[in-house]
């Protein structure tokens, strides 16, 4: 990511001048809203924001899933909001413009009548939050910046360079504040979620390839280590939030479109891990290498749980 490029921040919550408890309420509710949208898109269908906007008008917004599937089934990437067909720069720009417009709509509640709301709820939860929060660079996962007073009541900060690359991961309870820092290599926006009070330190790092920004959330004291990992495609910034002690592992997962890096925050014990999609990895491998074996070779270290065969004893 170029140094001068604006950081990957999707939305900024402006709480300047607001006193307690409004920064907390605003931040938590906004994060919860984003989380719900993300989760809804993950559980259900792929988001259809770009496609739905291609229909234009209010009706398209009311029934995003239906309209999108009719036109371009699963045509939109989860995080980028750019369709697979948008290969040429011109069309891609158009798609990005549509995505931006759709994102703008996300900032407002969809103004529908109560009957339409009920119909939407009954129809399916999978389209209720079409999601898609796309970052400016189309590469990063969801990020929310909160600007305002940096008090104990607020979860917010800008980076020292005042450029504000922020991914606010408010895991756990609300009083946990976040402190932002840039990586030493000055290339990557880093979000440091330091849980607890500010004295608790955070450790920054770059990825080995010096390309991927890494967000390390080091919880508690400095002994608790963090582990960096690059994504398989060597393109994605990865944020690893390793909570608690070192045994607790984090596993990376790529998004289906193979473009969006994902920050996995694995809370709690090690069983609660995330497993890469076998299908997605195979598909990607077949497209890029042509053989399944090479895919195994390439991704087995990342996707071992999915590729492992049952033991003979079983």
């Amino acid at each position: 990511m170029p140094q001068n490029q604006p950081p990957s921040v999707d939305f900024t919550l402006d709480v300047r001048g607001e006193s307690c408890p409004y920064p907390v309420i605003y931040t938590l509710e906004t994060l919860l809203q984003l989380q719900k949208r993300t989760a809804a898109a993950g559980r259900g269908r792929l988001p259809c924001l770009a496609a739905q906007r291609s229909g234009g008008g209010r009706q398209a917004r009311l029934c995003p899933g239906a309209r999108a599937r009719e036109r371009r089934p699963r045509a939109v990437f989860l995080y980028s909001g750019v369709t697979r067909h948008s290969s040429s720069p011109k069309s891609q720009q158009a798609e990005i413009a549509k995505r931006d417009e759709a994102d703008h709509d996300l900032l407002r509640p969809v103004g529908v009548c109560s009957v339409c709301k009920l119909a939407l709820r009954l129809w399916s939860a999978r389209i209720w939050h079409p999601l898609a929060i796309s970052t400016p660079c189309n590469r990063a996962p969801v990020a929310l910046t909160v600007i305002g007073i940096a008090r104990k009541c607020a979860i917010l900060a800008c980076t020292p360079c005042n450029r504000a690359p922020v991914a606010l991961a408010v895991h756990g309870i609300a009083q946990k504040c976040a402190i932002l820092v840039r990586t030493p290599c000055n290339r990557a926006p880093v979000a440091l979620a330091v849980h607890g009070i500010a004295q608790k330190c955070a450790i920054l790092a770059c990825t080995p390839c010096n390309r991927a920004p890494v967000a390390l959330a080091v919880h508690g004291i400095a002994r608790k280590c963090a582990i960096l990992v690059r994504t398989p495609c060597n393109r994605a910034p990865v944020a690893l939030a390793v909570h608690g002690i070192a045994q607790k592992c984090a596993i990376l997962v790529r998004t289906p479109c193979n473009r969006a890096p994902v920050a996995l925050a694995v809370h709690g014990i090690a069983q609660k891990c995330a497993i890469p999609s076998t299908h997605a990895l195979h598909s990607r491998a077949r497209r890029s290498r042509g053989t399944r074996n090479s895919a195994k070779m390439r991704y087995s270290k990342y996707a071992r749980p999915a590729f492992a065969r049952p033991s003979p004893s079983r």
């Binding site: 939305f11 919550l13 402006d14 300047r16 001048g17 925050a265």
Partner: protein, 408 residues
């Protein structure tokens, strides 16, 4: 040296340390002056002076007879406690280079703060004390009314938290797409220099008070500044001690205040026993319950209690100016209603002064106080660990967006 400077003036202090120090200082202040660390009593007197300016004869009002109206705010120890707190907080804010005029984005906060200030001021004086005299310094005096007030305040803050979370009250936040880019603020040396000047000037004032024979005023000015320094450095807000429990589950301030009260209880009892002093006991009555409830609602509406309001105002959060004015107006309204609207006869007259030392003895009072405080601390810790905001952001939650995507 730089690290020490950063620790003292650039970083906030641990609220536990701050509250423990505040507890010790309040006990010491009680031992020296025979009065407790309190502010809303002086707010009421300020309201009385203001009403007198407009021609009202407040000398015959029962409430002012109760709290005393002799002299001016600069000839009373309670007055110097208030102004000292303002001064101490301002000095630390300046040394921290942290003063900035901050206005809320939501214009409604002005009216909300004013209304909350009135309700909180009225409730505090109805209960004969705010979060200090009827709470932080009330419990260590083993006065039963402080416990009633504390429970009622907790209930009031719960109702207040429900109120401020309502959409029509909180308003809609400003959400901007993308990043917010702004120029880096240059570190200024003007504020720290002003802070040093203010500190030297205030120290000179305290020295003058001692030198001119006004020792108690000097002590009050000194302790007021120390209290102001502590509440600013520790960001002590009694409102957040309760309100955050209901909104975010944060209990840091709650636990810190409980720890401070425990320290203060031991120290105050030592002062009482060594100095042979009488603990300050207030009337425990229905007014304490109602006042605590109103106070709890009011401080959440206003966004801060009396102490929180003071240091935030010094930081430049000017929305707390109407809160301060509202506090004074509310306290004055209670002073009027005390006699003229039958508040005393209805809510206070039936009460009595109950002190745990009289009921349980010194050891029993201290043990009972510490046990209840320990239980409160444990409950707060449990609450903090298990509370989740609207069932969101759960620890160990596997349903991360990335995982959801992967397993789909």
């Amino acid at each position: 040296m730089k690290t020490l400077h950063a620790r003292l003036f650039q970083n906030y202090w641990s609220p536990y340390l701050v509250m423990a120090l505040a507890g010790l200082l309040s006990a010491l202040y009680f031992g020296i002056t025979g009065t407790v660390w309190a502010v809303t009593g002086e707010f009421t007197r300020l309201a009385g002076h203001a009403m007198a300016l407009f021609g009202a004869d407040v000398s015959s009002w029962g409430y002012f007879k109760l709290i005393g109206m002799k002299g001016t705010t600069f000839t009373r120890t309670d007055g110097w406690i208030v102004w000292g707190m303002f001064a101490g907080a301002l000095i630390m804010v300046l040394l921290n280079n942290n003063f900035k005029i901050r206005a809320p984005r939501q214009k409604r906060r002005w009216a909300q703060g004013f209304a909350g200030g009135i309700v909180a001021g009225f409730g505090a004086r109805l209960a004969l004390g705010c979060n200090l005299a009827a709470f932080f310094t009330g419990v260590p005096q083993f006065s039963l009314h402080a416990w009633i007030f504390m429970v009622a305040t907790a209930g009031g803050t719960f109702l207040g938290a429900k109120l401020v979370a309502a959409a029509w009250w909180k308003g809609k936040p400003v959400v901007i797409k993308g990043a917010f880019v702004r120029k880096a603020a240059k570190p200024s040396t003007v504020q720290p220099a002003l802070g040093v000047v203010a500190a030297v000037a205030y120290a000179g004032l305290v020295a003058y008070l001692f030198a001119s024979g006004h020792r108690m005023l000097g002590v009050a000015a000194l302790f007021g500044a120390l209290f102001g320094i502590l509440i600013e450095r520790g960001q002590i807000c009694f409102t957040s001690a309760f309100r955050d429990l209901w909104i975010s589950g944060r209990a840091t301030m709650t636990k810190a205040i409980i720890a401070g009260m425990a320290v203060s209880s031991v120290a105050t009892l030592a002062v009482i026993l060594i100095g042979g002093m009488e603990p300050i006991t207030k009337i425990a009555a229905l007014s304490t319950l109602v006042g605590g409830l109103l106070f709890g609602i009011g401080i959440v509406m206003a966004g801060g209690c009396e102490t929180g309001m003071m240091y935030r105002l010094m930081e430049g959060q000017i929305v707390f100016l109407p809160v301060f004015i509202g506090n004074v107006i509310g306290a004055g309204a209670l002073a009027y209603a005390w006699d003229h609207m039958g508040v005393y006869d209805t809510l206070v007259k039936s009460g009595s002064k109950i002190n745990l030392i009289d009921e349980l003895g010194s050891g029993g009072a201290l043990a009972a106080t510490l046990i209840v405080l320990a239980v409160g601390f444990a409950v707060a810790a449990y609450w903090q660990k298990h509370y989740r905001f609207k069932n969101g952001f759960k620890k160990g939650e596997p349903a991360h967006a990335a995982k959801s995507t992967a397993v789909r």
